[in-house]
């Protein structure tokens, strides 16, 4: 796909294939490229050319049991009204996904437990600050048990250890794409890395490629890996 914003090509003939169950970290220069890619995948932005096939679906549908349940997106902003309580947010998300009352109650209880929002479940989100808003946004995204989870620099307001715990998303067949400007903070969360440079895919490789070369999961480490793989003419070692 290709997309330019204000004359700058943020996605330039990008072709990226991510296998089921991958945990892919997307690092990009400029930073907006990774974020834009996730928003295009989520159906929030449009590519000027090209196409997306996500979880076997070519484009978003309006059926509650379709796209809304299978693909989830969490952006850097929670996108939640601060006067709402986490319970209201989760209830709304569950209703929009078409769950019946029993399913809603059960899923909200599970989410409150996993994302540790049980104590603040009925408090307005504004009272507890951005950490609760971001945890609630992730809980709402996970409520439908999505096959594909798109995370655009998520949970920055959450304490790092707790963030790592929350982003260790369960599910062997769930595909997670994380766009992050701070690769080191995603250690232990991802098993693949991709580097976009000027909108083009420079490298897509397993994290173990970094380890094998003694490189760290950092901007510099990923760039060094990209240089090494490009020199060896195999920039997409993890594709497929």
């Amino acid at each position: 796909m290709t997309r330019a914003v204000r004359g700058q090509r943020l996605l330039d003939r990008l072709r990226l294939v991510v296998g089921v169950g991958a945990r892919l970290l997307i690092v990009s220069q400029p930073e907006e490229s990774g974020s834009l890619l996730l928003r295009v995948l989520a159906g929030l932005s449009h590519a000027s050319s090209g196409s997306v096939l996500l979880a076997g679906v070519a484009r978003a549908d309006s059926s509650p049991a379709g796209w809304a349940r299978r693909v989830a997106y969490v952006g850097p902003q929670a996108g939640i009204y601060p006067w709402m309580s986490p319970r209201e947010v989760l209830e709304l998300a569950a209703r929009l996904a078409g769950f019946d009352a029993d399913q809603r109650r059960r899923r909200i209880e599970q989410a409150a437990d996993r994302y540790r929002i049980g104590l603040q479940l009925d408090e307005p989100i504004r009272r507890e600050g951005p950490s609760l808003a971001q945890r609630t946004a992730l809980a709402a995204a996970m409520l439908t048990d999505p096959e594909v989870l798109l995370l655009d620099d998520p949970l920055r307001a959450v304490e790092p250890t707790e963030r790592t715990r929350l982003l260790a998303i369960p599910g062997a067949r769930r595909t997670v794409l994380i766009a992050s400007p701070f690769p080191a903070s995603e250690a232990g969360i991802v098993n693949q890395v991709a580097l976009l440079r000027d909108g083009r895919l420079v490298v897509h490789a397993p994290v173990r490629e970094l380890d094998a070369r003694g490189l760290t999961l950092s901007q510099r480490g990923i760039e060094s890996l990209a240089d090494a793989l490009v020199a060896g003419n195999q920039p997409t070692a993890a594709s497929g």
């Binding site: 509650p64 809304a68 929670a78 996108g79 009204y81």
Partner: protein
């Protein structure tokens, strides 16, 4: 439209909590109260004509403000990610747009309708002979449709521009058009704002009811076109 009722409820609650609901309802009500409280020397030559003029002025201010708020709301909803939150849950963007339109419309129409009753009662109390309520009511209905068209235009502006630019642009646009209409500069031109001009000059029309219905039709048609255009632009917008 999927989720329209729930989304409209949320929009109304957001307007209440952010205090935006108050000016949208209170300004037209205040306009009605101002008409009641007008001193006799400002009440106009005829009781109904004076009440109509001053209420048209007050309603224009309320419509300007509501249109500006609608524009900044739509821009703000895009900026802070609430539209995106809905869109990724397969809620059509047009449903989000319509929920805000319905929420603002309910409030503004209620305010203008109740304020107009106050203005009419003020005219009744001042009139020395019986008043035919039909021309006044028809003109008020035309003003209500002008309000709907202004809200649709505000949402259109908010669907494409940033918050502050949208607010200033809509305020300038509605301010100029409504001021010119009330002042009579646009007489003879059928515009979505024509209803306000009719109310401001109730005695100036030979067929007040027919003209008001024509003005209402023009405003409703414009409002519908603007809403469709807003939905199309919001569909193409980056969230």
């Amino acid at each position: 439209m999927r989720g329209l009722r729930a989304l409209t409820g949320m929009a109304l609650r957001e307007l209440w909590i952010s205090f935006r609901l108050i000016p949208v309802v209170a300004l037209p009500l205040a306009a009605g109260i101002v008409v009641i409280a007008l001193p006799p020397e400002l009440a106009g030559v005829s009781a109904i004509g004076g009440a109509g003029f001053w209420y048209a002025v007050g309603a224009s201010v309320a419509i300007c403000l509501a249109g500006m708020l609608a524009a900044s709301t739509m821009a703000d909803e895009r900026r802070r990610g609430t539209v995106a939150w809905m869109a990724v849950r397969a809620v059509p963007r047009s449903s989000v747009l319509m929920s805000w339109f319905v929420a603002y419309a309910l409030l503004l129409i209620s305010g203008i309708a109740i304020g107009a009753i106050g203005a009419f009662l003020a005219a009744l109390s001042r009139a020395e002979s019986p008043i035919d309520p039909l021309p006044f009511a028809a003109a008020v209905i035309a003003v209500l449709t002008t309000a709907l068209a202004a809200l649709a235009a505000g949402l259109l502006i908010g669907a494409v521009l940033g918050r502050w630019v949208a607010a200033i642009a809509s305020l300038a646009l509605f301010g100029v058009v409504l001021a010119a209409t009330v002042a009579g500069s646009l007489d003879g031109v059928l515009l979505p704002s024509t209803g306000v001009g009719l109310l401001a000059d109730l005695g100036g029309s030979g067929r007040p009811v027919g003209d008001a219905l024509r003005a209402a039709g023009a405003a409703l048609a414009s409002g519908a076109v603007l809403l469709v255009l807003s939905a199309a632009l919001l569909e193409r917008a980056d969230l």
